[in-house]
Amino acid sequence: MISEFPWLTAIIAFPIVAALAIPAIPDTNGKTVRLYALGIGILELGLIIYTFATQYDFNNPNLQLVERYSWIPQLGLNWSLGTDGLSMPLVVLTGFVTTLAIFAAWNITIKPRLFYGLMLLMYGAQISVFLAQDLLMFFMLWELELVPVYLLISIWGGGQRFYAATKFILYTALASIFILLSALGLAFYGDTVTFDIAELGLKEYPIGLELLAYAGFLIAFGVKLPIFPFHTWLPDAHGEAPAPGSMILAGVLLKMGGYALIRFNAEMLPHAHVYFAPVLAILGVVNIIYGALAAFSQDNLKRRLAYSSISHMGFVLIGISSFTALGINGAMLQMISHGGIAAVLFFLAGVIYERTHTLSMDKMGGMAKSMPSTFALFTFASMASLALPGMSGFVSELSIFLGLTTSDVYDSGFKTLVIFLSAVGLLITPIYLLSMLRRVFFGKLESNGEICWDAKPRELAIAFSLLIPIIGIGLYPKLATQTYDITTAAVAAHLREALPTAVAERKDTSLYAQSIEWKSQTANASPVISSKLVGIANR
């Protein structure tokens, strides 16, 4: 199925080409450039939404809008794009968060051309990572945002920015070696050399190779997500990056890790996933509890938020390891919802930083009076982050829990332990978030001679446009889930095929799980039933 117009290529190329035109824009104080960048961002978001609204079939679990051009046949490298339910929502999220990040960067005065150029470059690069369907091309695109993020942190970052930026690039570059190694290992196995993800998924590997490749991918994506022992770059990078940079880092870049874990580790190597899934669940629990405890001990506002990201990404791991449609669905929803929540929290932290010029919570306090609307928004975002019912975080974490509980793969002792420990993590989350609110907004006003004016319309607009979808998804989750749950159900079914037969034959019989699966199966099944009916009628 090759569409006549290369929509996905256009989505990727548009911001990158627009970024290359920035040096030619006549501008003295950076105002034209920022308008230009924002305009491109909005146009790009419009293009993404238009493409998916008109060209994408939401009832099809397979790859759509596939494009494939031979790039370097000597290497077997193709320019190969495609999208399905796993990548489509994340592309939209990327467009949304990046556009808002450009808008949030209104007050950047140092080297504005370079800043907006890098932002637009990253815009295209991030989207391309989600769309790539060729492993070698994926590796290249994965590496593509190293330098822009490095520059973003080291030019516009906080006091420790060089340290943070260097740590980020070395961690990510070293880890991505493993993507290449695993890719080469898989590609050269068997008779044909191919890097196409679908073809790689069809190959039959010996279990040893599959486990090795899985471990390689896990390290590479574990650094990005991040998974517990590989997380140490994240608090530094997120803490030191400028607010728009943190929005992108937390809102989009972490999702690349989660996306790639589902796409490569689970979907491509299902047999190794059977062995590694319990490990993922345990790592997820460690992430949740460790992230929450570490967040509690941070004095720096942004570092606290960064550790809370680590904690929330643990749920994604548990969802991936659950082997149920519900769990994987929840993992996807958790990534989307965290993308919005983390972005708004980091944005508001940036708003506060612009007033106080400090991120140390010890030096803040009593700001509720002078900045009431910022306070209200921050409270809202924190409530969303601690998974208050009615917010998107609640739905996603609940469905991950349900997914794991209804999973028939693990015995009940393991499930109880995992759920109990993550529930403990869930209890710590409100503690550190509420204490953060208390220290920043309540108490005595720590005035160091600066007047804290309240949020301006621009800032309100950004925060609202992130918060409204969060509440919308929380109240009516189908809004988000129905766009992709056909694919996640297909992924879960694919994963279950790899299970030892004894387990796989026990079908997902839990009534509760089926009822909460938002009728995806019924929607899927109804054409089949109706065609049968037609068949009967014809007889």
Binding site: P23, W71, I72, P73, Q74, L75, I110, K111, L114, L136, M140, L141, E143, L144, L146, V147, Y150, L151, S154, I155, F162, T166, I169, L170, A173, L174, I177, L180, L181, L184, G185, F188, V193
Partner: protein, 510 residues
Amino acid sequence: MDFNNLVTQLNAGTILPEGIVLITLLGILVGDLIFGRSIARNLSYFAVGGLVCSLVALILQWDNPQPVSFIGAYSSDPLSVVFRAIVVLSAAVTILMSISYVEQTGTALAEFVAILLTATLGGMFLSGSTELVMIFVSLETLSISSYLMTGYMKRDPRSNEAALKYLLIGASSSAVFLYGISLLYGLSGGETTLEAIARGIAGASGSLSLGLVVSLVFTIAGIAFKISAVPFHQWTPDVYEGSPTPVVAFLSVGSKAAGFALAIRLLVTAFPQVIEQWHFVFTALAILSMVLGNVVALAQTSMKRMLGYSSIAQAGFVMIGMVIGTETGYASMVFYLFVYLFMNLGAFACVILFTLRTGTDRISDYSGLYQKDPFLTLSLSICLLSLGGIPPLAGFFGKIYIFWAGWKAGAYGLVLLALVTSVVSIYYYLRVVKMMVVKEPNEMSDVVKNYPATNWNLPGMRSLQVATLAGLIATSLAGILSNPLFTIANDSVSNTPMLQASVQRQVAVK
């Protein structure tokens, strides 16, 4: 042997590109004698024109049905065409960037160009020669003119020191190399063409002789000096730091490419019996070069020294392609050398530009350059990031091809080491980029504060600008649009009989 037969055997048309370079060289010498310094600049443009003509002649020789010439002493097979093209291209770009540099130092330009063309001639003949005497003569032509160029800034003591060091180490390594090939001559029973040597040795002794291994080791020592592989690299940083920068650019690309051409031809053709031994030695050289080059480069404060160590490390990557000895391995080598030509020359053009304006090449002096000269910052950043293998620049594709070929041939350890060391290399390349881009106006170095405004209309600057732009464009696009380059690299290997024979042998052994 009648006359017609002799003409066929000589097949002198194959050295038409070299002939063009030689005529250009003579023209420059005569023109310089007659008109003196007044037309020196025009003479150097004339030299570039001659090199371009030579390049065209090379392109026409692609797919030559009769590559063997001079009764087996010279071969113009696609591999030699490709390597000669790399040497010619690097010489042409070097001349473009040397005009203003040499003029500013107050030395004679036309003589410099003449010496450079001589070195080019040596490098070109070296890429194609298949006979021991021919190899040695062209190697010496290349080396001696390199010594001269290194010491060209006679009033600069560092240039003198570099020249003396280069001369002493180079002469002794030539002697070692000569000893190695004279052993080869004796062991084969008095043969001088490479294929006859291989036959002679195979016929003389069924088993492996110690003499052959000694000869191999001595030959490799001579070659490793030319491509500055660790541990034969000691001259590189000092010579790179002291000599005029355009010369360094030529040494690191043109001279190195000729060295690799010699390595492939000599080792593959003359030493088929000891293929495992020379693969082993080159594996060791590759590992040492990658590790030492990349690690020591971290600690450098001088830009030219850093590029010197980086070129050692890059040679290590190229050697992987040679060690694995498959068709894709050789092709990845050729491809990487092409890419390396663009990015390294581009980087050197930027360094020359900076040195001309400021007179320094300390890395810390680059800080804050973005504010003063965005074009130079962009070009240097792109070239350095490409050397570090950042996508989507050309260097990334070069490295990927080498790793791809290496993994395919089963050299897992080498590929892993190369990957790790290339991450290390990102750090030191990025450090320069950080200096230029990230530093704020108040952290600007003193030389950058006094940075003169760019004036491209000064004599000689236009050609430097052309060289920089060419490097920039080629480095940014040669990766994304690398399909033609890949085809050239693969065809050059698959159409070269000598490499095909070697690849077949290896397959047969397995």
